[in-house]
Each structure stands twice: as C-alpha cells, then as structure tokens.
C-alpha cells in the first residue's frame, strides 16, 4: 500500500515506532489501585494486548503529546461515533472470519466469507466517509485520513468493493417457499401468500394498550446448521446454481483482503475507546477530567483531582466524590501528610500516583487541570496494616526496600511512602523518617510521605505540610480534603441541616418554583 504521508507513523497512538509492550504491570499497581483501574478499562475485552498497552507508559514528552492530541480529538462526538461504528464493524469481521474457519459445508463457507468482507468494507467505508466530513486537526487523524484515501483508491480495494456488492445482491434477491407436511419438506421458487402474523395483528390490535408487541426476534441461533437446514440450502443451491458458483470463486480471489494498518487501527481505537468509556460514568457525574500538561521538571499543580478507582465506586453508589487541589511552589519537592486516620491520606497518595501514571499513558486524568512530571518511575511503599510479631524483621525488610527505591530513583521519579515506620517507636520513626526524607531531598525526586510524626512536616523549605481534615459530622466517610489548614466548626444542628440540605437556601434551590 502506498503511503501518501510519509511522516505519518501508521499509528494513532505511537509517534515513532511502537516500543515493546510490557507483559506485566509495574510494581506500583496494587498500592495505587491501578490494577482496579486497568481491570475496569479492560472489562469485556479479554485481548491481552489491551492490558499490555496499559502496562506500558510513554517515555517522551513528544509521544505523550501525540497520543493526547489523538485522544482529545477522538472525544469529539462525531469522531467518537465514527470510531465506535468502525470498532463494531471490525468485531463483526473477526467473528465472521472465525465462522468461516469453523464451517463444514461449502455453500455456508462461501456465504460467511462474503459476510466478513461485507463487514470489513462497511467498516472502512463508513469510517472514511465520516473522516472526510470532519475538520481534523491532529497529525494522527490527518495522517489516517490520507492513508485511507490512498488505500481506498487502490485497484485491489476497488475490485473487492465492486465484486462484494454483486455477490451480495444476487444472494439477497433469492426467494423461495417451503411447505412442511408431516416429515416431508418441499422447496420451490416464489414468494407465497398472506402473512399469518399480520393477520393476527390486524384482528387483535384493538387490545394493544400498555406495550407494543415485542420486536421480531433478532435470530440468535446455533452457529452450526443442522442437516435438515443443510438439505434445504442444498436444494436452494440447486434452484439457483449460477449465484453460488460466482460466490465460490469470490472467496478464492479475495482470501487475503484485510489491510494490516486497518487491523492495527482497530486495536488502537479499542484501547482509546475503552479508556474513555471507563471515564464516561465520571463525566456523567460531572466530575472534572483533563489532559495534563506533562514536562520533565515542572512543579506539581492540580485542581479538583480525585482517586479514579474510588470515584468509580462512589459514583456507582451515587455518593459524592471529594476532590483535592494542590499547588507546589518552586523548590518544593516533598509533601509530608499528617492528620487523623480515615482522613483520606492514602487516597491522596493514590491520587498522586494515578495522576502521574495515567498522564504517562497519554489519556485524560482526574481533575479540572493538572501539570505533572513525566515520571520515569513511580515507586510506592505502603504499610500493609497487619501487625507482625517480628518487628525488627519487618523494619529490616522495610529499610531494604527503601534503600532499593532510593538507589533507583532519579530527579524524575515519583516516590510515594505511606506510614512506613508506623510500627516503630516514635524516636525511630523520627530519626529514620528524617534520614529518608533528607536523602530524597538530595536526589531531588518528587515525593509524598504520609506519617504520624508531626516534626517531619518542617524539615526544610523543600517540604510542604498537608493535613487531612476529618469531618466531625461524618467520621465514617472515606474521602476527605487534604488541606494546608484545618476547617472551622459551626452549630451542630444547623450543620446537620446544612449537610442534609434542608436549610432555607437549600430548599429554595431544591424545590423548583
């Protein structure tokens, strides 16, 4: 196939050659609930390459930018509809190819092969037509459009298109009738008399009241014909010999019809739409999502961000999602988070980790705006919570793990540490925490550190102190704000009324005039 746009890499997702995909998830996945997010995105899509794409973050700003532009453009409803239509048709192609491979009788194989090419052509034609009708702006989609122009103009494609229509027309025009009397079946040409179902409707329609008749069954049925159906089809072939001999030679001529770029496109679009579909419930719940600005050395800043996995659960339960904002100043590298338990500290760490990881996948992230580092690695070390008898053994293991992290971390790494020394004595926790944070400060990595040791919040200008504010009204709620200063209280009863939204102002808002 000739490529009219030599700069187009033949892909919507990769600006240069695609790197090798990772078969296993990064180690930070369970701590950050990224495994849940990936499970959510892959729900209903068993194909392993989809997971592998999600396990493989991008490593250059240019690559992120290329993918972000492609996805951002895909979010336009017209383009999205085109992609969904294309994917549905390509799924049919796949199923029908499987069907051809499975079938035993010739006439059936010919028919299913024709069907698979019909779906393929519909997929390509409809996508191309829709792309032609749109003002496109990103390099990826513009490149795809010119590629499809050249592909569809090629002689081979044109021949397939023409022959497919001829064969289809022949087959669709076949009409026959059947009489079943006892065990005898008669097949003949012709159309037959008045339809019985119509007579039933005409006589009984007056009783129609609360529902329309159910639509005619879509014909879900066994994939294999039984021998009676095959005998009938054989008789139909005998009644129409010329139609079926043309069909047989069609399959021979076009056996390798699938274009590799089109096939790859279907995978890439599946990745993109699965990702966007996963976010759709959040969008409906009016939670903000944005394409982050990624850079190699920026100060972290985000508005109204939230834990994506937790938000999915809360939205499904109809619960509100608490959002957090943060603006780091130049020179600040380490966030030290203290405050009561159940205050959303772990959730805040997950939010940070997800924000960075998802930004490197090139997709939208939670939040109304975000500027993040394109992290080379995301390191996590979360306290598991279980009490172990061998405290010194555990501390030893913790320190070994931390040492590994610190030796691998670079100024472009993100390190998330959650209550690492919580089971040690306060003195140890202070000492070890100070040491670890000072080392991280020297490396210059971005870090968030959850601790119960207040002294760690003021080690230097490079640390930022954050506090999880616990809502006194609802101590069981799972997500809360992480703030630089505590919230102030109010009258208990009024705050209950306020929380249940029955104050005068709320009622005026809630009851439409």
């Amino acid at each position: 196939m000739s490529s009219p746009s030599p700069s187009w890499p033949g892909s919507l997702l990769w600006v240069a050659n695609q790197v090798a995909l990772s078969a296993t998830p990064p180690s930070c996945f369970p701590d950050l609930n990224l495994d849940q997010i990936v499970d959510g995105i892959c729900a209903g899509h068993p194909e392993p390459w989809l997971r592998e794409l999600l396990y493989t973050p991008l490593t250059s700003i240019a690559a992120v930018d290329y993918r972000q532009r492609a996805l951002r453009e895909l979010e336009r409803p017209e383009l999205r509809a085109a992609a969904d239509g294309f994917l549905a048709a390509m799924e049919l192609v796949r199923q029908r190819q499987e069907q051809v491979a499975r079938l035993r009788s010739d006439p059936q194989r010919w028919i299913w092969f024709l069907n698979s090419t019909t779906s393929y052509l519909e997929a390509v034609e409809s996508l191309a037509a829709r792309l032609e009708g749109l003002q496109l702006s990103s390099a990826s989609w513009l490149g795809l459009r010119s590629y499809l122009r050249a592909y569809r103009a090629s002689a081979a494609y044109q021949a397939l298109l023409g022959d497919c229509a001829l064969r289809r027309g022949d087959l669709d025009s076949i009409r026959y009738q059947l009489r079943i009397r006892g065990l005898r079946v008669t097949v003949s040409k012709g159309a037959g008399g008045e339809e019985l179902a119509a007579a039933v409707s005409a006589t009984l329609a007056k009783f129609e009241a609360d529902s329309e008749p159910p639509p005619a069954a879509a014909g879900s049925r066994a994939l294999q014909m039984n021998h009676v159906e095959e005998q009938i089809l054989d008789l139909v072939v005998q009644l129409h010999p010329e139609v079926f001999s043309e069909l047989a030679s069609y399959q021979e001529t076009y056996s390798a019809y699938l274009d590799p770029v089109v096939e790859r496109l279907s995978r890439e679009l599946l990745f993109a739409t699965a990702y966007l579909n996963y976010l759709a419930p959040l969008q409906r719940a009016e939670l903000p999502l944005c394409y982050p600005a990624v850079s190699e050395a920026s100060d972290l800043a985000f508005e109204e961000a939230f834990d994506l996995a937790l938000a999915q659960q809360l939205v499904a339960e109809g619960q509100p999602v608490v959002r957090n904002s943060l603006q780091m100043q130049p020179g600040e590298r380490v966030l030290v988070i203290t405050g009561p338990n159940q205050g959303g500290k772990t959730t805040f760490l997950r939010l940070l980790g997800q924000l960075h990881y998802l930004a490197a996948l090139g997709g939208p992230v939670p939040g109304s705006s975000a500027e993040v580092l394109l992290a080379d690695r995301v390191f996590t070390h979360f306290e598991v919570g279980e009490q172990t008898a061998d405290l010194s053994g555990k501390l030893h293991d913790d320190l070994v793990r931390l040492a590994r992290i610190l030796s691998a971390a670079t100024p472009r790494s993100l390190i998330l540490l959650n209550e690492v020394f919580s089971s040690t004595a306060l003195e140890d926790a202070l000492f070890l925490g100070t040491k670890v944070l000072e080392q991280i400060g020297r490396i210059g990595a971005l870090c968030a550190y959850v601790t119960f040791v207040d002294e760690l919040t003021s080690l230097g200008l490079w640390t930022v102190s954050l506090v999880s504010a616990l809502d006194p009204e609802q101590p069981l709620r799972r997500t809360f704000k992480i703030l630089r200063r505590p919230a102030d209280g109010r009258s208990l009863a009024l705050s209950v009324a306020e929380r249940h939204r029955i104050t005068g102002d709320w009622i005026l808002k809630r009851v439409a005039p």
């Binding site: 028919i111 008669t186 179902a197 009241a209 014909m225 159906e229 208990l492 009863a493 029955i502």
Partner: protein, 501 residues
C-alpha cells in the same frame, strides 16, 4: 382497549410500585388500617384501594376524581353490575391460569398452543360482557360506565367474534404449515408463516400453475431430523406465536384491569355503607384545583377513628382557604395528631374520588401528600435521632413541588428548642415561598411565637382547646400559641392517680 373505570385516560396499575412516601402515609395516618377496614378482608379490593388512594395522592387528577365520583353514583344505583364485572373478570383470570402452562413455553409451538387455549376463554367472556352491556346500559349515567359498556357492545359484535374464531382455527394448521423464505445472514432460511394459499381458477389451471419444487422426506427413524424439522417449524411460526402470546397478555391485562377497577368500586361501596352505619355525616367532597389552595371543612372526623369509635369522635371545622401554613399547638393528647390525621386522610380520600366523613369538605387537590411524623421507636442517641429525622425530611424535600401538602407532626423536636425552632422557621418560610402547603403540629414554642409575630395572613394558628379545669375537649380551634406546656397537667393527672405527687 381498556375498561378505564377509574380515569378517562389512565389505567390503575396495581402491580406498579407505590409512589415514594407511601409507606409513611400508610403508617403515620393509620391509612393502612383504614384501607383494611374498607376492604373487608378481600385482598384484591385492598390492593386496588391502596393503589388508587396512594397514586392519586402522588398524581392529583381532578378530572379523574370527579369521574370516579360519578361512577360511584352509578355503582350505588346498580351495585350488582359492579359485582358481575368483578366476578366475570375473576373467573376469566382463574380459567386462564389453568390453561396449558408448559415448562417448554420457550418453544413457539407450545406458546401458540397455550395462547389458543386462553383465547378461547376470552372469546366466551367477550360475549358475556356484551350481554351485561345490553342489560345495563340504559340505566347508567356516568361517563366511565357508559363509555365502557358501549365499547363492549361495539367491539365484541357477533361479526368480530366470528372473525376471531376463524383466525384461531387457522392457527391450528389443519393443512400443514406454509412458509415464505429468504436467505438470512449465514444462508439460514428466514421463515415466516403464511395463510394457506387460497386456490384460484379451475383444477386444470391450478395444476399448471403449481411450481414444481424439490422435495425430501425425513426418515421416520431419524429423530434428530424430526427435531430439526420441528425447530424449523417453530422458527416459521415464531412471529405469529409471539404476537398471539402478546395479545393474550394484553387481553389478560384488560380483564385484570377490569378486576382491579371494579374492586375499587366494591371497596368504595363498602366504605359508603360503613359511613352510613356510623351515623356520622358524610359527603362527596368538592374538588378544587391545586392552585386555589383551598382547605375548608365542617364536622370533619378522623376516618379511621370513626370506624373504631363510631360517632363518639370529635368533629372539627376549618376555614383555611388560601392558607399556606397551618400550625397546630397546644395540650398534649389534646387531639392535635388526630386532627392532623383526619385532614390528611380526608385529603387522600378526596383525591381518590371517595366520600369523606364530614358535613362538607372543599379542598384543592395536592400535588403529592407527604407526612413527616416523629418516630418514637427510632430512639437511639439523641444526636442520631435528630440526624435521622433531618435525613428523612431531606428525602421528602426531593419530592416536593408547588401545590404539595406536607403534614408535619413534631418535626425537628429531637434537638433543643432553640435550634429546632431555627430550622423549622427556615423550612416553613422556604416551603411557603415555593407554595407547598404545610400543616405543622408542634411543641416548638419559639418557632410558633416567631411565626405569630410575623402577622402573615397566609399562616393560620390552631390550638388544642383546654377547659378552665384543664380537661380536654379534643377540639382544635383558632388561637395564639401558648407558651405553657400542657404536659404539666398530664403529668399531674398521671402521678395523682398513682398517688405519688
């Protein structure tokens, strides 16, 4: 086609979920107990009354309510017509249930068979309905019954029933099955059953016109082949079977509606009789549109207590047209809750088109009736209880609209008086602004006092009356809220009896 005895435009759907808030009304107003008395032990009548009363409360329909008032007049004149309709519907439903209900009903042939049996029963019942129409039509005046019986005469004519029987006979395929076919997606035939072709011309023309066709027969020992063939037959008749089953359901729904709707009137007739036996006055309420905010009555009694205590109940009167808020204060056990309940029940009965126990009752329909009653049994920690009642109130707010009626009994009492009053004031001011009518029984003196000081003509103040010696009359009269708690005399009385003063 539907009976439409309860509304010219809508069906009563007894299986539909009850509207939001129904549980509270059933419990707070003793509506559940009242409906049981009205139904006299017939579960069907109970279900119909409950559905009609609660759905009319949620969706006021002035036209439907007066339509029912008229049908009820006819029903009083010809109670045996209502009984006949109810019995016929019940018989049809019972007979339909006994027809062929196979575990194989996923097979079109089995479905078709079952539907044919049921249809035979229906055809007979159509004839009986026409007979009832012939007998009663000229004795009736209400739009509801006249229109229904006239449609029976017209729709179930002799010629229609003959046409229907002929169709049912054809669906038994006495001459084999004829199918028209085209090739479906994978070469599978798409089959649709056809009527038996009618022969045309003389025998020679018919013979020549016959297309030759190719045939095969399935061997008698080929069980798989026979199964495949019957599956193919099933596909051919599937659409006809589906449609016939569908219409079977529709006709059954017609008879179910007839049963449910006639059950409502049997309940209404019984309620009428109970009212007459009680000796207290009753009336057909005057229905007024939502926007008028009318609420006036004389000699209104609590419908439920009336059945329990007969005429011993205390009647009350109110001239509350235009009022957006009615507060009721005063002595404990002075009849405040009973008063609130009596108004709520009368409002619900009126919206359903039923008579009420009053000499006169003239009120606007409410766009939803809701109750927010103090729940004694939810006693947890004080804090939790207040939270619970506020949460419950908040759910009600979700369903309020201009024209709604809200009955509050000791709302916001689970906190201290200052805070409770503050919240109650905010709530009633906002609800008045949204034209939600509120009847509020309260002990929150601070709340009532501030309202009194506002001199708003849209607010009425009622008080449980107390005689000079502290005895209660259970009458509720207009009056300024009094600060003295009447709990004191209740206390004195109880403790005096026990001799522990």
């Amino acid at each position: 086609m539907r009976p439409r005895l309860l509304s010219p435009s809508r069906d009563l759907l007894p299986k539909a979920e009850l509207p939001w808030g129904s549980e509270d009304l059933l419990r707070d107003l003793e509506l559940a107990a009242l409906l049981e008395e009205m139904a006299g032990g017939d579960a069907q009548i109970l279900a119909s009354l409950r559905q009609a009363v609660l759905s009319s409360a949620a969706e006021p329909d002035l036209q439907a309510a007066s339509y029912r008032q008229a049908v009820l007049e006819d029903a009083r004149r010809c109670p045996e017509l209502i009984t006949s309709l109810y019995d016929l519907a019940n018989q049809v439903i019972a007979a339909e249930r006994k027809t062929f209900h196979s575990v194989f009903t996923e097979y079109p042939s089995a479905r078709l068979h079952a539907a044919l049996e049921a249809m035979d029963i229906f055809v007979g019942a159509f004839g009986e309905l026409r007979g009832l129409a012939d007998r009663y039509l000229d004795r009736l005046q209400s739009e509801g019954l006249c229109r229904f019986l006239a449609s029976c005469t017209q729709e179930f004519s002799e010629s229609y029933l003959a046409e229907l029987k002929a169709l049912l006979a054809e669906l038994a395929f006495p001459a084999g099955l004829f199918l028209a076919a085209e090739l479906g997606t994978g070469g599978y035939g798409r089959y649709r059953a056809r009527k038996r072709p009618r022969p045309q011309g003389n025998w020679l023309q018919r013979k020549l016109a016959k297309s030759p066709g190719l045939s095969f027969s399935i061997d008698e020992r080929d069980e798989g082949g026979a199964n495949a063939l019957s599956e193919l037959r099933d596909r051919g008749i599937e659409r006809s079977a589906t449609l016939l089953s569908h219409y079977q359901d529709q006709v059954l729904a017609f008879f179910t509606a007839l049963r449910d709707e006639s059950a409502f009137y049997l309940g209404a007739l019984r309620w009428q009789r109970l009212l007459e036996e009680s000796g207290a006055p009753s009336c057909t309420p005057l229905l007024r549109p939502v926007a008028e905010r009318a609420l006036s009555f004389t000699d209104l009694r609590d419908a439920y207590l009336l059945l329990r205590l007969r005429a011993g109940t205390v009647p009350n009167a109110l001239a509350g047209d235009g009022a957006l808020l009615v507060t009721i204060t005063g002595a404990n056990q002075g009849g405040k809750s009973t008063f609130l309940r009596s108004v709520g029940l009368a409002q619900l009965l009126m919206q359903a088109g039923l008579p009420v126990p009053a000499t006169s009752f003239s009120a606007s329909l409410a766009q939803g009736v809701f109750s927010h009653f103090r729940r004694e049994e939810d006693a947890e920690m004080r804090r939790g209880k207040f939270d619970e009642e506020v949460a419950r109130f908040s759910q009600i707010v979700d369903h309020l609209a201009p024209g709604s009626m809200l009955l509050c009994n000791e709302s916001f009492a689970a906190t201290n008086e200052r805070e409770g009053s503050l919240i109650a004031l905010q709530v009633v001011h906002a609800l008045s602004e949204r034209r939600v009518r509120v009847l509020f029984v309260t002990h929150l003196y601070e709340f009532a006092r501030q309202l009194w000081a506002e001199h708003d003509p849209g607010v009425l103040f009622l008080r449980a009356e107390r005689g000079a010696e502290g005895q209660r009359s259970y009458r509720i009269r207009p009056g300024e809220p009094l600060s003295t708690s009447f709990g004191r005399d209740l206390y004195e009385r109880i403790f005096a009896v026990q001799g522990t003063g």
